[in-house]
């Protein structure tokens, strides 16, 4: 198994003032040490140029196969954290380790290349992932079938609805054959009906593929609906302040009372976090 690791030497252990006591242990310690984590972040600090710290001492572990949601208000650095995990940004300090090489990344926008058909978009990802040419087409069709869009293979992005585009984008992210799938508010721009359906769809695909998913959102109910664990982030600087395991058996829908119950609890905490910035 390959792993991408980014470590900034001498900065892996940030000072006491950068990590709130107990938080690192809270976020990281929930998983028994020794178990191989698909994602491991220790004392991550990120700042752009001479600006303030966007991320300040973020530590987390995501065991293989887990679906974890990162929740926070706008500007809490959750997207930055995802960019660092995806290898698009280098950490200023700290250690980031993602198993299985390159992680797949889905943006809020479908980000499909408009000059390629749905199938060709996926084929390009396969090609860039080093898949032999003979397998591009069949593999692309298999992935489109997985997201139930085999009929749209020859269509161009502008001919598809927003939800369909996001499913093609999901298929493209899967074409990279990642062990870890990073999702940056992927359903934020969709209407409620489509979003609800894509929640079911994502749950199904996650069940079929056994991927590790790190899902970023500012929608509390969405986080509770999808995640096995919800990590709440504070803003300016971004830190993980609370962790909520989601223990809901059986049916889980966005309108389930259990989802609502936990959402209220998390929302209260989130609001308290936002109020801190009022003065």
């Amino acid at each position: 198994m390959t792993a991408t690791e980014t470590t900034v030497p001498g900065a892996a252990a940030p000072g006491k003032d950068t990590v709130p006591a107990g938080i690192a242990a809270l976020a990281g310690g929930a998983v028994p040490t020794g178990e191989p984590a698909a994602v491991r972040v220790d004392g991550l600090v990120k700042r752009f140029g001479r600006g303030p710290r966007v991320l300040d001492g973020v530590s987390l572990r995501v065991p293989a196969g887990e679906f974890v949601c990162l929740l926070g208000a706008s500007g809490c650095g959750k997207s930055t954290l995802l960019s660092v995990l995806a290898g698009l940004e280098r950490p200023t300090a700290g250690c980031v380790r993602v198993n299985g090489g390159r992680a797949g990344l889905m943006f809020q926008e479908p980000a499909l290349l408009p000059w390629l058909t749905a199938s060709r978009n996926i084929e390009l990802a396969l090609r860039l992932a080093g898949v032999p040419r003979a397998r591009w087409r069949p593999e692309a069709l298999r992935l489109l079938e997985l997201v139930r869009l085999e009929a749209a293979a020859g269509k161009r992005p502008h001919e598809l609805s927003g939800g369909m585009r996001q499913r093609v984008a999901l298929a493209r992210a899967l074409a990279q054959q990642p062990r870890v799938l990073l999702m940056d508010e992927p359903f934020g721009a969709l209407d409620a009906i489509t979003r609800d359906l894509l929640h079911d769809e994502l749950t199904r695909i996650w069940g079929e593929t056994g991927l590790t998913v790190v899902f970023v959102t500012h929608n509390v109910r969405e986080a509770v609906r999808l995640g096995q664990r919800v990590l709440l982030m504070s803003s300016r600087p971004g830190r993980i302040v609370e962790e909520y395991p989601v223990r809901i058996d059986g049916d889980r829908r966005i309108e389930s009372p259990q989802v609502a119950e936990l959402s209220v609890q998390i929302t209260e905490r989130l609001r308290a976090e936002i109020r801190r910035h009022a003065t």
Binding site: A30, V31, P63, A64, G65, E66, F67, A86, L88, R102, G104, L105, F107, E109, A111, L113, P114, W115, L116, L124, A125, L128, A129, R148, L149, A152, R156, P157, H158, E159, L160, S161, G162, G163, M164, R172, Q176, I193, T194, L197, D200, E201, T203, R204, W206, G207, G210, L226, Q228, R229, E243, P245, V246, R247, I248, D249, G250, D251, R252, R253
Partner: protein
Amino acid sequence: MRPEPAGPGAGPDTVTATVPDDQLASLERGLDELTTEPRQRRSPWRVLAGRVAPPLLAAALVLLLWQLIFYVRIKPDYVIPSPAMVWDSLAELWQQGALQRGIWTSVSRGLLGFAVSVAIGTPLGLLVAQVKPIRAALAPLLSGLQSLPSVAWVPFGIILFGLAPATLYTVVLLGAVPSIAVGMIAGIDQIPPLYHRVGRVLGARGLVAARHILLPAAMPGYVAGLKQGWAFAWRSLMAAELITQSARLGTGVGQLLDAGREQLDSTLVFGMIIVILLVGVAIDQVIFAPLERSVLCRRGLAGT
């Protein structure tokens, strides 16, 4: 088998699909059907009629207006001839074969010069767009060259090459290359940064990224640059032919126009202006308009 998620009691099957699989599939197909519009197919005849009829009508109106001006006799008929007189003059040239030869001479020169301009302007544009110091040095010069009428280079060309085809090609190149390069630069500058991020996430770097992301993404701006480049090439060539007369240069449309001026033959002058206009329109419609339409339609940026 999933690893145990955080906390006790949260078993592997905590998260279950809330809708049975086949129901989810049909729900999804229904929503897909509702959210996509069916492709509208118009009959090719109607498309053609919609595209061809309006410009023909406009041309007919111009002819009518011209005929009216001729009837009113603002100027004598050896100054403003009638459409029929111009037609006769063109027909006569056609019978002599002079018109075909002139058009062929000019168009072949224009297209050859344009092809060379594409070969120079494309890499030049890429280089200026991608390399910062080169951009700082050359970008203002390229915009400046675009506003400089390239006919201004004719005297320089004559001093350098004499009355030879090289002079004409120099003028064509100086007209078209900046437009093509500037089009390429604009095309690259207008690429949404998201596409570059997508390329990086998918693992495209350097030349691979240029081939799969940068160049296709820059196509709309580049094609607009090509279109303008052709217009500049043709315009510059006509101006250059008009002011250079030599047996070595042959007789292009521009030279025929100048012959009309020398002979005070207004039918020839009018006829050649129309020919120059028609050739420009024809090349644009045959080569560039379809190219532009296909690039834009593919991206959903223009209606059929």
